[in-house]
């Protein structure tokens, strides 16, 4: 009965590779998000998306792209991974202005 799930929980990969992180929510929420938490624990919004609007944080490199096959899924694709991409990535969802529910996070390590 997990509300927001992410796979994988851990991802170790080489620099230059392309990888994806999947996110699914079973709450019927209308908006999904991706956050990045860096090594200093700072949380920063990357994308927010509902079926009408994709908002991209202007500081996010275009190597990162969200893809939503349907309202319950928002996957994160990362091309040409760099060392600085190592972080914990959180997916979240919400309905209208209600609270955000977070996934368990994916720890990405780029070697």
């Amino acid at each position: 009965d997990t509300a927001v799930s992410q796979t994988p929980k851990y991802l170790v990969t080489q620099m230059g590779n392309d990888k994806s992180i999947k996110c699914e929510q079973n709450l019927g929420h209308d908006t999904m998000y991706w956050y990045k938490q860096d090594s200093k624990k700072f949380l920063k919004i990357m994308f927010s998306y509902n079926n009408k609007e994709l908002i991209i944080n202007e500081t996010v490199p275009n190597r990162f792209s969200p893809k939503s096959p349907d309202k319950a899924h928002l996957n994160l694709h990362i091309n040409s991974l760099e060392l600085g991409d190592s972080a914990v990535y959180f997916c979240a969802s919400s309905h209208e202005l209600r609270r955000l529910f977070f996934g368990p996070g994916t720890r990405l390590t780029v070697l």
């Binding site: 908006t31 998000y33 200093k40 624990k41 700072f42 949380l43 920063k44 919004i45 927010s48 609007e53 908002i55 914990v88 959180f90 979240a92 919400s94 209208e96 202005l97 609270r99 955000l100 977070f102 368990p104 996070g105 720890r107």
Partner: protein
């Protein structure tokens, strides 16, 4: 742009005592929401408490309460009767009160709380 500031990178409290975590924010909006999230070592983000800016009454959830000072743009979290399980990173967060792109949260830098037995 909205900013959220947590000026205490680390705090400690004795078990059963009370601790207050500080948070200030900057906004030109009149309608918004404020949150405290807890992140234990498991890294799961857990909502602790939420406050609507239009409500004058401070939110309370069991041992957790806030001191919301709208004019001062201050939103502190008080934890009473601290327990070992309260040890975590605590994040203050802000969200505008309108739809669309405003739904995202802006987080502070966090306060690492240690609870001493």
């Amino acid at each position: 742009a909205q900013t959220v500031t947590q000026s205490q990178p680390e705090m400690s409290v004795q078990e059963a005592e009370t601790v207050t975590l500080s948070c200030t924010y900057d906004t030109s909006e009149s309608d918004y929401y404020l949150f405290w999230y807890k992140q234990p070592p498991s890294r799961q983000m857990i909502l602790v408490i939420r406050q609507e800016a239009y409500k004058q009454q401070n939110a309370t959830e069991n041992r957790f309460s806030v001191n919301f000072q709208k004019a001062a743009k201050s939103f502190s979290l008080k934890i009473s009767d601290s327990q070992l399980g309260d040890a975590a990173m605590y994040f203050c967060a802000y969200r505008r009160g309108t739809s669309g792109s405003a739904r995202q949260l802006t987080f502070g830098s966090g306060t690492q709380l240690t609870v001493l037995p």
